[in-house]
Structures are given as C-alpha cells and as structure tokens.
C-alpha cells in the first residue's frame, strides 16, 4: 500500500523531464497510468469477504510516528474514488488543457495531491494523517492558483489556504490532545480506548478542534466561503478536488472518528446541525449564482452538508445513506463539473445568463447533464442513484435516535434544503441547454466537444445509471464494509426503489419534486428574496474584513509601541522588569530583611555617602552638560573613597584613575555636543519616568538587602586568603586572583579594552563623510 501512496509522488519527480516532450505527446498521457494502476490495485480488494488490512513502516519510531496504513471499507471507498475519478480527470484534462499551458506544473501538483489524498484516507497514524492533510491543502493551493496571472485565482488560492490551514492546525491540536489522552498515535487503537477518551476532561476540546478541521476542509457553514472562490482553478481540478475528493476529506475525518465520538451527544448536535444548516444555505445560495461553476460549488457545499448531517445522525441507516451518497455525489458531481468545463471550453463562457439552447449543438453533453442533474436533484426515477441516497436521507432524518424538539425540525429542514437542491439542478440544466439561443453573445460558436473529452463524463454518468439500476450491486461487496467501519452495528441494507405508498420518505420526495418544480417555474417572481436574506450580509465580507484588519491592526499595534524612541523602549524594559520582578518576588516571598549580621556604621561612611547622594541628585537637576559630568564625577570619587574605607586599595587606585580618565573623556566629548535641551516631556511622562526610576531603585535596593540577608553558604574568599601566598607566590590577594587564580577573566577583559580602542579608531578614522548627511 505504501507504494500506492507514494508512487504518484515518485512519478511527479519525473514529470518535468516528461513535460519537455509535451509538443509531441501530451504529458497527461504518461500521468494517466498512475491513478489507473492504483485503481486496478485497489479494485482487487472489493468483495463480500473483505477484511481490514494493516501495513506498518517505521518512520520516527521514538515518537510513535510511523507510516501505518490501514485499509478498511471506508478507506477502500475513498481510495477507489480518488484513483478512479483521478483517472477520469487526468483523461479529461488531456483534452481540456492545451499543450501551451504549463503542463509540467499542473501534473506535478495533481500527482502531489493524489499522493496526499491517498495518504489521508489510508493513514492509521494521526500525525502521518495530519502530514498528508496539510499536503492536500498545499497542493490544492497550488492548483487553485494555477493560472497565477489572474487576480481572482490568487485571491481564491490564498483564501482556501488560510481557511483550510486554520482548520488543519486546529485539527493538529485535537490530535495532540487525543495522543496525550490515549498515549497512542494509532486511530484503531484509539477506537479501542473509547471509554478513556469519553471520560477525559479534554473531550470537548478534542471534539471542537477536530471538527473545526473537518468543517473547514469540507466547506461547512460558515467556512464554506473558500469553495466558490476555488472555482478559479482549471475545471479538471474543480471536478477532482472540489467535488469528489478533497472536500470529502473532512467527511472522511468525521466518519473515521465517529466510532470514538458517536456516543457523545455534542457530536450529534454539532455535526448534524452544521450539516443541515450547510445543506439549506448552500442550496439556497446556489439558485442565486449565475456562473455554472459557482452553482456547482454551492451545490457541492450543500451536498457535503447533507452527508455531514447524516454522519451526525449516526444511526445505522444514516451512516449507510452517508456512505452511499459519498459515492453517488462523486459520480454525478464529477460529471457535472466536466459538463460545465465542456460548455466553457466550447462556448467560451460559463455565464448562465448568456447560455441557453445548447442541447441542439451539444446533444451528448446535454444528455449527460440531464442524467447528472436529475440524479443530483433526487428525482424519483429508478435509474438515478441520487434518488436512493436522498430517500435514505429522508428516512434517516425521521428516525433519529433521541427525538427532541430540535431533532423534530430536522426532517423539515432536510426537505427545505432538498427543494432548493431541486430548483438549482433544474436551473442548471434548463438554463444551459434549453430555452432561447442567443448565439450572438457567445464568444465562440458552440459545437459538440471532442470525443476524448466526453469519455470521462460518459463513464461517470454510466456509473450514475448503473448504480441507479442495480443499487445492491455496490451495496453488499463495497458500501457495506464502509458503513461497518463507521458504525460497527451496520448491517446489510437492501436498497429498494419502491417502498409502498405508506413510506413517509417517498412522500417527502414527492413534496420536494412538486414544490421544487413550482419554485423553479416561478423563479423570476421570487428572485427578489435574495436581496433580503443574504442581502448585504456575507461571510466573504467578514473574511475580507478579518484579513484586511489583521494587517492594519497589527501594524497599528506595532506602530504604537515601536516608536523608534530609545526613551520609550527603556521605559518599557525597565517598567516590565520592575513589575515582573516585584510580582514574582512577592508571590515567592523573596524579599527577606535580616539585620543580624550587619557591621557598625562609622561617621565618615555616612559623610561620604551623604555627599554622593547630594551629587547624584544634583546631576539630575544640572542644566549644563559639563556641569552634570563634573557633578557626576563627585559620585565616582566618593566611590573611590568608599573603597579606601572598605580597605580595597587596588580597586580604589583603579577607580581613581578610571574616574579621572572618564570624566576627562566625557568633558572632551560633551564640550563639542550641543547644549542640553530643556526637557520637553509632559508632566505625565515626567511623573511616569520618576515612578519607574524610583521603583527600579527600590527594587534593586530590596534585592540587594534580601540577597545579603539570605546568605546560604560561606564565601570562598577564605580559600584565597589562605592560598594566595602558598600557591600564587604573592601577598596581594587581589592581584593573585586577577593574574593567577582567574587569569582567564583578565585575559578577556584586556581583549575587550583592545576591541574598544580599535572600535574608537574605526569610528573616528574611517568616517564616511558622504553618508554622514
């Protein structure tokens, strides 16, 4: 199985070489065999006696992250969809994309996507699943932006990227929590630990995070906004990614995890409510669109909502219906996108207002479209698969497990959504293929598509009809296992066309057809309602506002504190240090004041310190540079006197000389500086500065006192006193420490001095006078 997943990636490496030949042979022809072989490989697993297969390959065993591939009924359904529709899409793209396009890029992205998608549905390991999940986001981003010279493509690509990656990251959070709770990275082993997960405190978070990931990927309300914009991609991409495969990744995720969450009531509530809302909103909005692909995009949103709702119901019948509809939706939606692509390709426009009466020009396309749209609408005809799954959906919506007031409303909402589904399906078909022809408005003269382009939709529509005629053919060997993988109680479900007159689902279907037909025929009369309901409210605007405001707000925030003024930064640094240290010291009870071991204070110490304090305060109030430096010198010499008093002759000597030198240097520099400006700060800033500096002084004083009061062990100075002469051969302990015991410090200090001197030379001698101004 690992080969099936990785082969597309491997082949993708050779595509650039192959695309050199594209003038002679269309690159797609090479690519075509990849999904086809994968499809053939997986078809062999289909059968009534199928049982799950697990294959394991080490990747990062120490973290429990391994390529574990698990093929059960659900994965099998998806891999067959991915490889099967992938084959058809590649075939279609050979005729759709001209050789002048950048085919190499297209097929590399497409194969990347295929690998990623196969990886998502086959992975048993959470983190491998996540890796492939993000790869689908990236490759989808690249495919949507394939025509990168178009503004709309770039916008759509960025939007889908932002939204799906938001969901992907949240999903990663959910996965990590799941891993923390269960201690395993394997999904199957998690399913065995359902009790542990359900009793965990993190359960709401896990569910929320994972569902956010699934909802963004599967374009559920209100994250559906990226899907219509993703229609800027080439049509094969829309058909493949945004109808059949990638948007079902979220569905897959919910299905995969429903054995874990299905007994948690919020799972039912969130998933089914989100699904139903998406169903109604998507189908409602779809009728309003004028672009063929936009109609299909909203239709996809609504169909995904329907599948999601059924997964949320979680009953055996609903799960079976969901699985059935995944298959059905992939067949008819894939073919409809291809039909839309053909119409676009052959007429030059996708605007439904310009199209009309194409049935005479494109009879085959029109025939295909009629089957696909009627199947999408759920018209009760015995050869359309859409009808069966829709009927199952209605039936499931009536028989919910816990009937509360809100779940009573679900069947009505389901019917409402389906009515609009009917309306837009009819709108799509009749608006394009019947009615008056206005050839004058079309950029091209319409004609039937080349045969090669028709093959794929024909095969898909054949699928629609075959499943419609013999629904139980795919049911027993195939869908049965998929339903079992989601809900282990699922049993063989026989799909029948006729349930008798007393079946409520049939009546619901008939109501849908009757009301839908009425609404479709009177469409022009109630179109005005769209001005009221979505009106000016739109989630796209919310998205645009968020994207625009994140930029401006963060810019404003940065501008607010990154003023460029060193004074502000200094205040921020000191103020933060002050607050953090004070709070932390108080919490940890760090301030200790112990007056036991203090030495006596002599008069001369008091006198020197008083002079220093006076000089320090005086420095602040000096109005002249030079005067301030001189007064500050008093503090320095005071320190030197203190060193003398505390019997540190070496330091006193050094301090004296250094103080003299630095005062002299200060004088030299300040002599050339402009006169001090009068402080122009407001009283408020001045008060703030005063508070910060006084607070900081207090803090340092308190820390110093506390440090002195809580001495934990004896100092090592006794050792130096004893060994200075014995080991160092000198009586001057300070000097012995400096040059002998800790000579390394001295070595680097003189290095620092040397660097400083050279830097001054560099600054003064190597002046670049041109740049100075």
């Amino acid at each position: 199985m690992i080969f099936a997943v990785l082969v597309p990636l491997l082949i993708a490496c050779f595509i650039p070489a192959l695309s050199k030949l594209k003038e002679k042979i269309h690159t797609g022809i090479f690519v075509f065999f990849v999904p086809f072989i994968i499809f053939l490989y997986f078809v062999q697993f289909v059968g009534s006696d199928f049982s799950p297969i697990l294959e394991q390959y080490s990747w990062i065993p120490s973290l429990g992250i391994n390529f574990d591939f698990y093929l059960d009924g659900l994965s099998l359904l998806f891999v067959l969809l991915i490889s099967g529709i992938g084959t058809l899409v590649v075939l279609y793209s050979i005729y759709y994309l001209d050789k002048s396009e950048r085919l190499g890029h297209f097929y590399v992205y497409l194969l990347m996507f295929m690998s990623a998608m196969l990886g998502v549905v086959l992975s048993d390991n959470l983190f491998v699943l996540y890796t492939f999940w993000e790869l689908t986001s990236i490759s989808s981003f690249l495919l949507i932006g394939y025509w990168h010279f178009k503004e709309r493509s770039r916008y759509g690509a960025l939007k889908s990227m932002l939204i799906t990656v938001l969901g992907g990251l949240s999903m990663l959070g959910g996965f990590i929590l799941l891993y923390v709770v269960t201690g395993t990275t394997s999904i199957q082993q998690m399913i065995n630990q359902v009790d542990v997960i359900l009793s965990s405190n993190y359960l709401p978070l896990i569910l929320g995070f994972i569902l956010l990931g699934a909802f963004t990927k599967s374009a559920q309300f209100p994250f559906h906004i990226w899907l219509p914009d993703a229609m800027e991609a080439p049509t094969p991409v829309s058909a493949y990614l945004h109808s059949a495969t990638m948007v079902k990744a979220g569905i897959f995720l919910v299905a995969r995890f429903s054995p874990i969450f299905s007994s948690y009531e919020w799972f039912f509530i969130i998933v089914s409510v989100a699904g139903i809302i998406t169903l109604c909103w998507g189908s409602y909005m779809s009728v309003r669109q004028t672009d063929l692909k936009a109609i299909l995009a909203f239709s996809t949103i609504s169909q995904l909502g329907m599948i999601m709702a059924m997964l949320g119901f979680g009953t055996t019948a609903a799960v079976f219906a969901a699985v059935f509809h995944i298959l059905n939706h992939a067949t008819f939606k894939g073919s409809l996108f291809m039909v839309a692509g053909i119409v676009d390709h052959e007429t030059g426009t996708r605007d439904i207002r310009k199209l009309g009466g194409l049935a005479t020009f494109m009879p085959i396309t029109a025939t295909l479209a009629i089957f696909a749209t009627f199947s999408m609408a759920g018209v009760p005809l015995p050869f359309l698969n859409g009808f069966y799954s829709k009927e199952l959906f209605f039936e499931a919506s009536i028989h919910l497990e816990d009937p509360s007031f809100w779940s009573q409303a679900i069947p009505y909402l389901a019917v409402l959504g389906s009515i609009f589904t009917f309306v837009y399906s009819m709108y799509f078909f009749f608006g394009t293929f019947t009615g008056k022809k206005n050839l004058g408005q079309l950029p091209k003269k319409p004609h039937e598509a080349p045969f090669g382009m028709l093959v794929s939709p024909i095969l898909l529509v054949l699928g629609v009809i075959l499943i419609g005629l013999f629904p139980n053919m795919v049911n027993a060997p195939f869908l049965q296992h998929a339903a079992e993988a989601i809900n282990s109680n699922a049993e063989f479900h026989k799909v029948k066309f006729w349930h008798g007159w007393n079946s409520p689902a049939l009546w619901m279907s008939l109501i849908v057809v009757a009301l839908g037909a009425t609404l479709f025929l009177t469409r022009s009369k109630w179109q005005g309602v769209y001005r009221l309901l979505p009106g000016k409210v739109s989630f796209n605007k919310v998205y645009d506002a968020i994207v625009a405001n994140v930029d401006t707000v963060s810019q404003a925030i940065t501008k607010y504190y990154m003023t460029g003024s060193l004074k502000t930064y200094m205040s921020l640094i000191l103020g933060t240090t002050l607050i953090v240290s004070f709070v932390f010291m108080f919490i940890s009870d760090g301030f200790a004041i112990n007056t036991n071991q203090l030495a006596d204070i002599s008069f001369i110490e008091i006198a020197v310190v008083m002079v220093m304090i006076a000089a320090a305060i005086g420095t602040i109030y000096m109005n002249h540079n030079v005067a301030a430096v001189l007064v500050l010198g008093v503090v320095g010499f005071g320190v030197a006197i203190l060193f003398v008093i505390y019997r540190a002759p070496d330091i006193a000597l050094t301090q004296l000389v250094i103080e003299t030198v630095s005062v002299a240097l200060f004088l030299l520099c300040f002599y050339h500086l402009p006169k001090l400006r009068k402080s122009t700060d407001s009283a408020k800033t001045k008060a703030m500065n005063a508070i910060i500096s006084i607070g900081f002084g207090t803090l340092i004083t308190l820390v110093a006192i506390s440090a002195h009061s809580s001495r934990w062990f004896e100092s090592i100075s006794d050792y130096f006193v004893e060994n200075s002469y014995k080991l160092g051969g000198g009586d001057n302990i300070v000097n012995v420490i400096l040059v002998d015991m800790r000579g390394l410090d001295t070595l680097f200090e003189i290095a620092v001095l040397g660097i400083a001197a050279l830097a001054i030379v560099g600054l003064i001698k190597n002046k670049n006078n041109k740049g100075a101004e």
């Binding site: 009586d731 300070v734 040059v739």
Partner: protein, 142 residues
C-alpha cells in the same frame, strides 16, 4: 593666536613625568605583593605620557617616544595569551602560573613569577588602549 609660554609647566612636567613613570613601573612590579598591578601601572604610564603630550605637544612627544601605541594592544594581548599557551609546554592547563625564588648577584634573593609576564601583557595592552583612545580623539580633524 598668541603662543603661550608654559615654562613652569614644561619644567615641572619633565620632573613629574619621570616620577610618574617610575611610580608606574613600581606599581607594575610590586603588584604581586602590594597594591598595584598591570592595570593601574598601565593607566599611570599613560597618564605620564599624556602629561608630556599636554605640555610639549603631540609632535614633540611623537619624536621622543616613536611608539605606535595601537600596536601595543596586539603585542600585550599576545604576551598575555602566550603565557597561557606556554603552560601547555609543561603539560599543565591553560593559564597555569608558577613562581620560584632565585638568587641574583646584586639584589639578593628575589621571587620571580610567571604571573608577572602576564601582568606585563596587561600593562602593555592598557597603555596601548588608553593612548590609542586619547590620541585618536585628540587628533581628530574637525
């Protein structure tokens, strides 16, 4: 500009500078046993040179003391590092110092320590640094 006649300054300088230099050398040599050392000694030496510069002018001192002070910095650093590296020759860790007593004809018994060489390195560096800084700033063309 009129030229000032600093006879008294120059006369006292020639005396005091020698005293200062002598004191600086004393500080350097005595550092091991009494207050002083390479750092203070170096500062004092540069003080003496600075005094000469101030009273006789930069050009005169440059002729009397034709030393490129900036070169003293690497020389001093090299000596200091050299004492450290030298300890490898005796198979002891970096910067190990030792000392012993020797008998000299005139001075009698005298203690010689390898730490003194290190201190000389410090001394030369400090002189170089101080003089470089002061001369660079002072000679900066306006």
């Amino acid at each position: 500009m009129y030229k000032t006649n600093d006879l008294i300054l120059r006369t006292t300088t020639s005396l005091i500078a020698f005293i200062l230099l002598g004191f600086a050398v004393y500080l350097l040599l005595a550092g091991h046993n009494s207050p002083g050392g390479g750092f203070v000694g170096g500062l004092m030496t540069s003080g003496a040179i600075l005094l000469m510069n101030m009273s006789y002018g930069f050009d005169v001192v440059k002729k009397v003391l034709p030393i490129n002070f900036t070169k003293l910095i690497p020389i001093g650093l090299a000596i200091a590092v050299g004492t450290g590296v030298g300890s490898f020759l005796f198979d002891v860790p970096f910067l190990s110092q030792t000392f012993d007593y020797f008998h000299f004809p005139i001075f009698g018994e005298i203690e010689l320590a390898t730490a003194m060489i290190f201190d000389v390195g410090v001394y030369l560096t400090v002189v170089g640094v101080m003089m470089t800084i002061i001369l660079t700033i002072a000679n900066d063309k306006k």
